[in-house]
């Protein structure tokens, strides 16, 4: 029996509670995700979820492999840890919409 790696799950953070991710990038990445055939999960704001210790974060942390389009990896890992559900070291790819381009983020999110 052959084993294949499971497809990474996709999570998109809108950063809706503060305008620190460039609007054009978050819109562009969302458009690319929507333009693909991929199913994905999107949340209004990971910071807001971490502030409220939202239990959904644990479901994300437990769902590796996962690709997360959000902001700085140091921050994203810190948020999950602070919410008492640290992201594992392996199987997590964090794309940074604050500094990476639309193409860089969306291609990394959607690569096979």
């Amino acid at each position: 029996m052959s084993e294949t790696s499971p497809s990474p799950k996709l999570l998109y953070c809108r950063c809706a509670y503060a305008q620190v991710v460039p609007q054009s990038v978050k819109d562009g990445v969302l458009a690319k995700l929507c333009d693909s055939g991929a199913g994905f999960e999107s949340v209004a704001d990971l910071c807001e979820m971490a502030a409220h210790r939202d239990e959904r974060l644990k479901a994300f942390a437990d769902s590796t492999p996962i690709r997360i389009a959000a902001c700085f990896p140091r921050v994203v890992r810190g948020l999950f840890r602070q919410a008492e559900c640290p992201l594992p070291e392996d199987g997590v790819e964090i794309l940074n919409m604050r500094v990476q381009s639309i193409d860089e983020v969306s291609e990394a999110m959607l690569k096979a």
């Binding site: 799950k9 969302l30 210790r53 810190g78 602070q82």
Partner: protein, 285 residues
């Protein structure tokens, strides 16, 4: 710590079997509008599940269903309420209205009413020196059962005030909603670390020779806060530090204006320092 999570439902944009896919543009518009309102949105396609486990929130399934007839759906486990709505022919504002109507008067966290402003500790950098605990007057920080500094009351944090990150000698405190690096979580570079040396000068305004002792933490644990100093002088120095940070744009004027009375500041500062001292004393040598 804010522990309530008002997130009454999850919206599923269903484009799987039995539904007609939206145009890419319409799909992106609807998702952006719902996210900007604070909803979590799952896009489900014919390719299968998103792979994330379900939770116990109600699901509102939106789709362009055959014959414009939303199906009756029921959770096999009976735990989750599922409602489906047909959105054929509806524009984005109408779809948002439909979702809002489905939510009814159930409370929900929404953007625009509050900014998630709080420190996040990068434990890969943090040395557990307790400077942040000692510095913060608003009880944001605390110590875990195993003696680690942690953010315990993030809702006490003053919006747009990143002052504690400025006194962290290791650039370990991030504010995700801050604009500039490295406080926003950017990778810490040599220039940032060089700037930390300047923080020693700033911290000296707090009235204690605290950072010089960081080089020898076990020594610091014994003596960091034992230096005798005049309470009046310490208060004056703390004010100077805060004012300087405000002038440099590190602290919003509103935060300065909302500071407690001088007596209260002294009391809180002493309490925070005592807690920090106790935590340091408890650390293994």
């Amino acid at each position: 710590m804010i522990t309530h999570t008002a997130r009454p439902l999850r919206v599923v944009l269903y484009e799987g079997n039995g539904a007609i896919a939206l145009s890419a543009q319409a799909r992106a518009q609807v998702m952006a509008a719902l996210l900007d309102k604070g909803y979590a949105v799952t896009r489900a396609t014919a390719q299968g599940s998103t792979g994330f486990p379900h939770d116990d929130r109600s699901l509102l399934v939106l789709g362009q269903f055959q014959n414009q007839q939303a199906p009756d759906l029921e959770d096999a486990t009976g735990k989750v309420t599922i409602e489906a709505r047909d959105i054929t022919g509806l524009g984005t504002p109408d779809i948002v209205s439909l979702v809002e109507k489905a939510r009814g008067n159930k409370p929900m966290n929404q953007p625009g009413t509050w900014k998630p402003w709080f420190p996040v500790i990068d434990y890969s950098r943090c040395t557990n020196c307790m400077q942040c605990l000692s510095f913060c007057l608003f009880d944001v920080y605390g110590v875990s059962k195993d003696g680690k500094i942690q953010v315990q009351n993030n809702d006490n944090c003053k919006t747009n005030c990143p002052a504690c990150s400025r006194v962290c000698p290791e650039v370990a405190i991030m504010f995700p909603k801050h604009q500039a690096g490295p406080i926003n979580g950017e990778v810490v570079n040599e220039e940032d670390l060089r700037r930390e040396k300047m923080k020693v000068d700033i911290s000296s305004l707090l009235g204690g020779d605290i950072y010089a002792r960081l080089r020898d933490r076990s020594e610091a644990a014994k003596s960091r806060f034992s230096k005798e100093r005049s309470a009046d002088k310490a208060l004056e120095e703390r004010k100077k530090c805060l004012t300087k940070m405000a002038q440099d744009g590190f602290i919003p004027a509103e935060v300065l204006a909302s500071l407690p009375s001088p007596d209260e500041i002294m009391r809180k500062a002493e309490e925070a320092q005592a807690r920090a001292q106790a935590a340091l004393n408890a650390q293994p040598a």
